[in-house]
Subunit: 327 residues, 2 copies
């Protein structure tokens, strides 16, 4: 019996450092089931997969059973689509190279595909979100870290080894701020992540002790990107300057990205994107300033239209529908 595609589901799984979220998604991108388990409580990968299976089994049965599930799509940090592995992911407890797609596929008795989380988000955006119909765009996730997924000629750029699109680690300010996770100096992530924004705020507060700021109402440990945002929204000059500075670095980086792949749009996604115009205006200004004239006033910087919780699940599930990825 062949199940028509309109009655099939894909399982989309988004593995984050803290939570793993998942859903059953039909080919139109409707999520009919939502679930989550904690990622970090599982020291062993097998225990994690077993928990995932137990959490999804009822939903699979409710949807008619295994034959109604077309496959599993997984987005995971440091995920490699060619090999189905996660490799040396700094934010996960499972070290080294984990053949995750194979392990999950075997446990569920389904075909499983895996890519990195930012690439999954880009696929989600292209299939169901702001990038629908675009053939050339870059997805930038501004969260705890800075991730990216690059689409050119209508295809995700994976590179020869599956690791393309680590734009958060490109060096924007040589000999600049140290990234404690990588040991490199001046990478985009050291400035434009939520962590980077908090760091900039702390540097401003400490470096300019005589300057007043609402951010001084918080203890040093409390300063995070949320605090900076709240203070900026109340008109705090120093907090606004944190965004101006962040946008300067981000805009410079974006100019370089544009001169690489000349995308129609750069799509922002993740917690930091919630800052809206606070981050958008300086970013756009500095991007334009650093572009050659042939690129100026052409590239849109827009926000993702997908709910943050859904985008990664949708993107992961889209891997299942992408025919060229069917084995």
């Amino acid at each position: 019996m062949t199940i028509p595609i309109s009655q099939q589901y894909a399982i989309g799984i988004d593995i984050g450092g803290t939570n793993t979220k998942f859903g059953l998604v039909n080919h139109r991108g409707d999520i009919s089931y939502h679930g989550a388990i904690l990622t970090h409580k599982h020291e062993k990968i097998d225990d994690f997969i077993e928990d995932l299976y137990q959490a999804l089994e009822p939903a699979i049965n409710d949807s008619g059973g295994l034959e109604y599930i077309r496959g599993i799509g997984i987005g995971a940090p440091n995920g490699n689509i060619y090999k189905g592995t996660i490799e040396y992911a700094p934010n996960l407890r499972w070290k080294g190279i984990i053949p995750l797609a194979e392990l999950i596929g075997n446990r569920f008795n389904l075909t499983a595909r895996l890519t990195n989380d930012a690439n999954a988000a880009a696929v989600g955006e292209m299939t169901y979100g702001s990038a629908k119909g675009m053939k050339d765009f870059i997805m930038i996730t501004l969260g705890t870290g800075v991730g990216s997924g690059i689409v050119a000629n209508g295809q995700l750029i994976y590179g020869h080894d599956g690791f393309a699109g680590e734009l958060g680690h490109t060096i924007i300010i040589p000999d600049g701020r140290l990234h404690p996770g990588t040991g490199h100096k001046g990478s985009l992530e050291a400035y434009a992540s939520a962590t980077g924004v908090a760091r900039t705020a702390l540097e401003f507060l400490e470096g300019r002790p005589k300057e007043d700021s609402l951010m001084r109402n918080y203890a040093k440990e409390e300063i995070d990107s949320r605090v900076v945002y709240d203070c900026a929204m109340q008109g705090d000059a120093m907090a606004l300057e944190v965004y101006e500075f962040t946008g300067k670095v981000l805009g410079l980086a974006f100019a370089n990205f544009v001169m690489f792949s000349s995308p129609e749009a750069i799509i922002l996604f993740g917690g930091m994107a919630k800052a809206g115009d606070l981050i958008l205006k300086p970013t756009r200004e500095h991007m334009e300033k650093n572009l050659l004239p042939i690129f100026q006033n052409k590239v849109k910087i827009i926000f993702s239209e997908l709910k943050e919780a859904d985008a990664a699940i949708l993107g992961a599930s889209a891997l299942v529908w992408e025919s060229r990825l069917e084995s």
Copy 2:
């Protein structure tokens, strides 16, 4: 009468600021005719095209006439493959937007395709040179300027507007050296072009007046990348340091490019590539240093295998054979 492809020729034209070179190329990449005219002596584009036609007409007739010519491929600075135009090319006398493919196609009564010169070189390298069989590579031309052609998933990256791959203009050292042509500071081209190398040498000579160097045997106006090369080959410490410095900037830029598209190789082409290990060693060292571990010791930096005069003609002619570009 349909001429079999084995008896057909493509005309490949490489338009440079000074010379325009061209040839008749069969589908195996053999160039059966070479010719050149001066580009810069033609103030009017129509005169240029007429001269080009007069120069090529005998060769077309010798090869059996128009019906043996499959089409014309053109590589030109600031060339746009989607529109067949050259747009605001700083090194050409024809200003604004020139519909060059159409003009040439009309005069020759053949289909003409045009792309930028660095993209043409990348296509040539992929079809006939060091990148044969590669699906992901970046071609960097180190000449008077720094050009680039990017191939990912086996396709040239053109971007949404046809202008992708201006890597020479990415900002590597923010607030760094002024590029007199663009007005931007710290772009790769300001450092890693032949002009940039000469500029570095002059800065070293002027900034360190007490330090001896063979380069001091030359007048300031005589210092060019050739002089730096000759002195470095004689073991001159300061000239060697010019290459070390250039390689530092180039290596940093390459690391960023690798973290973007994760190519199998970066292929160097153009006059500066003749410096061989002098430029290769520091570039490789600094590239590796700035890469995330997952990218390290994977990416080849290699030299083009094509004769410099031929590569651009071959690449331009390859546009004609690329079936997806047939209209």
